[in-house]
Symmetry: C2
Subunit: 341 residues, 2 copies
């Protein structure tokens, strides 16, 4: 022990030890086909005694695919993706699969590298939060089941699990409108994907439904990876002093907005109400708590994994998109508008 066995125990050795043939030993261990109970026991004992660990690469080579499932997320340090990954892992582990996790940092090229690696390892399936359609297309083209999560790339031939962004955003903004706000800003960091676009749609739909005119000047798009979001937000708020509420399109934006409001000393919600799309730990820790649109992220990961597992199990039928509903969580950061700041 502790020396690191130079040579692994193979099925052949187990068979020998049990006084039978490799194929019988294989059947005994895998539980396929007929094996006498006595022999089965004997083989199992031999395997245990020798510390046999089956070689999945041999198995994978023989069969069609491995028990590996790929997951591509855009930023593991973002709690949103971490929770997503946790949900995926949970379902996968329960089904006896392993999760290979790739962080593409929002870069399509890295996602594509990941996809190629998944192909090479004969992954049973892949889950991804797409940043482009290339990765999905490559995978689908090669016959690997794919489920897109959170965003949809628009690629054909794959299932998807998303959250109803438009509905969630509309609920959030309607809440602000109901409170009497009329100059509601929306801050986002992308309209590249359906997430950002749909949330903007929801923001607009809420205004239309309430008969409140829209103003382009109230929408601030920071862009992905802004150099200095705080400065952008500061300039925005200074340019639009009659804003009484801000709707942040996701947790990253919400954090930047919150910090800028703190920095400039604008009391929330007195000077400015705030709502976030996506509800993280800190939003219920701060005082006042942040009103938020809670996304069932962990659940989304689980659902996506289940869907993928069904496809892996051979389920046929055309691609489906499951849409989960967010939940509006009112907290202290929203109230009727005071005087403009």
């Amino acid at each position: 022990m502790g020396k690191g066995k130079r040579t692994r125990v193979t099925l052949r050795q187990v068979a020998q030890e049990a006084g039978t043939s490799p194929s019988t030993a294989s059947r005994a261990l895998a539980g396929n086909g007929y094996v006498a109970q006595a022999i089965k026991t004997r083989v199992e004992a031999a395997a245990a005694r020798l510390g046999y660990v089956p070689d999945v690469s041999a198995r994978t080579l023989k069969g069609r695919s491995s028990r590996l499932v790929g997951l591509v997320v855009s930023d593991l340090r973002n709690q949103f993706y971490a929770a997503l990954a946790a949900g995926v892992e949970q379902s996968l582990a329960a089904a006896g699969h392993q999760m290979v996790l790739v962080d593409d940092h929002g870069d399509d090229a890295r996602a594509l590298d990941g996809a190629r690696a998944f192909l090479a390892m004969r992954a049973a399936g892949v889950l991804l939060a797409p940043v482009g359609r290339q990765a999905t297309e490559l995978l689908v083209e090669h016959g690997t089941p794919v489920v897109e999560v959170d965003r949809r790339s628009g690629a054909r031939g794959c299932d998807a699990v998303t959250i109803d962004s438009e509905r969630g955003a509309q609920a959030a903004v309607t809440h602000l409108l109901d409170l009497g706000h009329r100059r509601i800003a929306m801050v986002l960091d992308e309209t590249v994907w359906d997430t950002g676009r749909d949330r903007l749609k929801g923001y607009r739909a809420a205004h239309r439904a309430a008969g409140v005119p829209l103003s382009r000047r109230l929408v601030l798009d920071l862009g992905l990876r802004p150099a200095d979001p705080g400065a952008d937000i500061a300039a925005f708020l200074a340019a639009e002093p009659d804003i009484t509420a801000v709707f942040a399109a996701n947790n990253v934006v919400a954090e930047a907005v919150w910090q800028e409001l703190q920095r400039r000393g604008s009391p929330v919600p007195k000077d400015c109400s705030v709502v976030s799309f996506d509800d993280l730990t800190w939003m219920r820790m701060v005082e006042p708590g942040l009103t938020a649109v809670r996304q069932p992220v962990y659940e989304m990961g689980r659902r996506a994994a289940e869907l993928l597992l069904a496809r892996i199990a051979g389920e046929q039928g055309r691609a489906r998109t499951h849409t989960l509903q967010p939940e509006f969580v009112p907290r202290g950061s929203t109230s009727a508008p005071g005087r403009p700041h």
Copy 2:
């Protein structure tokens, strides 16, 4: 396209397409051995044309091991582990390895299952935040390089990367003592591992160094997965009304302490100062900000992965433990003691 090729392109086909033999094609693609430049180009073109994706399971079967590296963490939804995993992934991806992530939920049996799976897939190496020594021992016994992260199981034959818990805790508690606190509580959720134990040691060492007597009654051990931590903390604070400061052993505990303090309406730091070991997002978002011991978690993940990669590359020599230093971050949640609450 989009139909899912029933049969993958093999090296044989690429060779045929390029008008050469499989072995030459292999050399051309892998870059091993001598191949005429002309043929090499031809093979590469053929591979690209056919959309060839090498089968790693065949490669793994032939060679000793795969390019898969296992990582076992205890709770992916905990930002600490998510950051750790992100750091690991970053280093691994840069080196052309893939990360297989297992969440053991603090359960040794699941970690062991993970370890067996890693063995079965001939993982090149494994990183783990141990919950017991079984997984590490199994892996080491089979000759798989292992690096333990954050905690050490005590198993022999593996490297480790940890953070100096004792030093960090001592700094935090010394800070409180320097402010004049004399009744400083410590709340933890385990003394099972060196993390909890060392932080308790640091708490005690700080007291000894300051000549302040210790009282067992000031230490609350919630235990792992407490049913109702809030209630336990409430009871504890009620039973020890002269407490003027709380040192929370990790982010989970800090969250529970913070929420209980909010709930009972005890102003921080006037009634009670608070320090957390581990610094999460919310701790700098709340008002006042939480004084914390920042751990370089992402960096720890990176370092652990580098260490493992070196072992995978064949580095010899006895097991080493890298200890990273935490950083004390004073914020608003600590001040001189007011009157006892």
